[in-house]
C-alpha cells in the first residue's frame, strides 16, 4: 500500500533520514520505534508532506506522492495525528472535528462522521461545546485521533499517541488504535512505548540515527535484544 524507498531528509543541518526504505501492506499496523531523535517523526512528516525529501520516493497505492503538499495528500486518504496532539485549543471539540473533515465537502457525511466519532468516543460527545484547550490530556488525545478519523483515512499515521498519558489511558488509546485497525484502516504507529506498540503491531522497524537498523515481525522484534539496546544501551 505504502512503499518508501531510499528516503533522505535534511532537517536543518541534520541529516535526519539517511536512506530509509520500508513498506506497509493494506490492513497492517506497522510500528516505528527508536530513541529520541532517531528520525521517526521526520519520517511521518515527510510522508504527509510537511517536510521535503531531498532524495527517495514515497509511493502510495501505486502513485508517486513524493513531496506532494499536505492538502493534496490528505484527500488521498493519508492522515497524520501529530505528536503532542496539537489540538486547536481555542476551538471547540465540535469545530476541531469539523477541521478534521476539512477536505470533505458533503455536509451529510460530516455530520454522520461526527455522530460516529461521538459513538466511538462518548466523552467527546459530552464535551462537544467545550474548547479543545480545556480538555484533559487523554481526552485531547482521543480528540486528536477522532479528528484524524474524520477524513475517513485509509492510512492513519499516529505520532506518539501515548506521550504524556497515564498507563490506564495508554491502554485505552491502544485499544482504540486496534479498533481502528480492525475497521480496515492501516496504521503506522510511531512510539516511544515500544513494548506496547510491538504488542499490537504486525510488523516493526527500529530506527537509530536516521537509519533502519532492524525490521521484522513485531513479536520477533520484541524478543530482539537490539531493541533494548537501542533505548538503554544495555550491551553487557
Amino acid at each position: 500500500m505504502l512503499k518508501v524507498t531510499d528516503l533522505n531528509v535534511h532537517y536543518g543541518a541534520i541529516h535526519a533520514l539517511q536512506g530509509v526504505s520500508f513498506n506497509l501492506e493494506e490492513g497492517e499496523i506497522v510500528t516505528l520505534i527508536g530513541a529520541n531523535g532517531a528520525g521517526k517523526s521526520t519520517l511521518l512528516n515527510t510522508i504527509s508532506g510537511l517536510l521535503r525529501a531531498d532524495q527517495g520516493e514515497v509511493e502510495y497505492l501505486g502513485e508517486n506522492i513524493t513531496n506532494f503538499e499536505p492538502q493534496k495528500i490528505v484527500p488521498k486518504g493519508i492522515v497524520q495525528v501529530p505528536e503532542g496532539r496539537k489540538i486547536f485549543a481555542a476551538m471547540t471539540v465540535m469545530e476541531n472535528l469539523e477541521m478534521g473533515a476539512f477536505t470533505v465537502t458533503d455536509k451529510k457525511l460530516i455530520s454522520d462522521k461526527v455522530e460516529e466519532m461521538f459513538a466511538k468516543f462518548p466523552i467527546l460527545g459530552k464535551r462537544s461545546k467545550q474548547l479543545g484547550g480545556t480538555l484533559s490530556g487523554g481526552e485531547q488525545q482521543m480528540l486528536a485521533i477522532a479528528r484524524g478519523l474524520m477524513a475517513s483515512p485509509r492510512l492513519l499515521l499516529l505520532d506518539e499517541p501515548s506521550m504524556g498519558l497515564s498507563p490506564v489511558l495508554v491502554e485505552q488509546i491502544f485499544d482504540i488504535i486496534q479498533n481502528i485497525n480492525h475497521t480496515g484502516t492501516s496504521v503506522i504507529l510511531v512510539e516511544q512505548n515500544a513494548q506496547m506498540a510491538l504488542c499490537i503491531a504486525d510488523r516493526a522497524y527500529v530506527l537509530e540515527t536516521g537509519k533502519i537498523v532492524l525490521e521484522g515481525e513485531a513479536q520477533e522484534v520484541l524478543q530482539n535484544p537490539m531493541v533494548i539496546e537501542a533505548y538503554l544501551a544495555v550491551t553487557e
Partner: protein, 276 residues
C-alpha cells in the same frame, strides 16, 4: 573534592497547568559529569532553562556555591560562571567562528565603547589578549583553520564544537550541555564523548549533560538522574540506572508482561473471528 557546586532544591516549573518540572532535587558535586536523562517531554531542557535563568521556577531554589541564583537574568548567570549549549545549535550564524568565541569572552572583558573609539592602551591590550585567547580556544575545540568561516557555513559537527568553544570562553565553572551528540554519527559521537571527558579532566569543569544517546551517558557519567513527567524517578551510577525497573518502564513503556498477554489474546481472537 566533592563539594556541591549546584544544588537544585524542590524546583517546580509550571506551564499553564502542565507541570513541566515537579519537585526536583539534584545535587551536583564539583567536577562531576552529571547526566540527566529521561524520555521525550520529561522536563530535562526545562530544568536546564531554569538553571540558566531562561525560566524562573515557580517554586524551589537553585544554589550555586550555596548562593541562590534562580530568577537572575541569564547574563548574570553566565557571568557567575554557568555556560550552556543548546539542543538545536544556536550560534551567531552570520558571524565568524572566532567572533562567536570572542562574544563568549564578553563577561570576562571590561573595555567600554569609549575605550574602543579612543583605542586606549588597556583596550588594545585586552583586545589582542582576547583574540589570542579566542584562537587558543578555537584550537582546543579542534577548529583551527576554521576561524574565519561564518558559523553557518561550518559542518554540523564543527558547529557543535564551536558552541562548546563559545561556552568555554566564559571560563565556566559549570558547563551545561543539551544533547551534544544529537544528529552525529557513531564516529563523531565517540569523538564528542572523549572530548567531554577531556573538558572535565583537563579543565576541571563540572559538566551537566542532557543526552539521549545512552552509550554516551553510560560511558562517561559519574552520576545520572532520570526524569519522567517532570519528576525525578531515579538517581545513581550507570549500572544502577540500567538495572532500575522504573527506568526501564519509563523508557520502554509500562505494562510489560500482563498487557502483552492481553493484546496477544485480543489479536488471536480477532484473527480467529476473521478466519471463520
Amino acid at each position: 573534592m566533592t563539594d556541591t557546586i549546584i544544588q537544585i532544591k524542590n524546583v517546580c516549573k509550571i506551564f499553564g497547568g502542565l507541570i513541566a518540572v515537579n519537585q526536583v532535587n539534584i545535587d551536583v558535586p564539583e567536577k562531576y559529569i552529571y547526566s540527566i536523562i529521561g524520555p521525550n517531554g520529561a522536563g530535562k531542557t526545562t530544568l536546564f532553562n531554569c538553571i540558566t535563568g531562561f525560566y524562573i521556577p515557580e517554586k524551589g531554589e537553585i544554589l550555586f556555591y550555596g548562593d541562590p541564583i534562580q530568577g537572575l537574568s541569564t547574563n548574570l548567570v553566565a557571568w557567575l560562571g554557568l555556560s550552556r549549549t543548546y539542543q538545536n545549535i544556536r550560534l551567531f550564524t552570520n558571524l565568524t567562528a572566532v567572533e562567536n568565541i570572542l562574544i563568549g569572552l564578553h563577561p570576562n572583558l571590561k573595555s567600554s565603547w569609549f575605550d574602543a573609539i579612543v583605542h586606549t592602551r588597556s583596550f588594545i591590550k585586552e583586545e589582542s589578549g582576547s583574540v589570542k585567547e579566542a584562537l587558543r580556544l578555537l584550537d582546543y575545540v579542534g577548529l583551527k583553520g576554521y576561524g574565519d568561516f561564518l558559523a553557518k557555513n561550518l559542518p554540523y559537527g564543527l558547529q557543535r564544537r564551536l558552541e562548546i568553544g563559545r561556552a568555554l570562553a566564559n571560563q565556566p565553572k559549570v558547563l551545561l550541555l543539551d544533547e551534544p551528540t544529537a544528529g552525529m554519527n557513531l564516529h563523531e559521537t565517540a569523538e564528542a564523548t572523549h572530548f567531554i571527558k577531556r573538558l572535565r579532566d583537563e579543565l576541571g569543569i563540572t559538566i551537566i549533560l542532557i543526552e539521549h544517546d545512552m552509550k554516551v551517558v553510560m560511558g562517561i557519567s559519574d552520576r545520572i538522574s532520570v526524569l519522567d513527567y517532570g519528576m525525578k524517578i531515579a538517581e545513581g551510577n550507570a549500572a544502577e540506572i540500567q538495572a532500575n525497573p522504573r527506568v526501564i518502564e519509563a523508557y520502554l513503556g509500562p505494562g510489560g508482561a500482563a498487557l502483552s498477554e492481553k493484546y496477544k489474546k485480543q489479536r488471536q481472537s480477532y484473527a480467529q473471528s476473521h478466519r471463520s
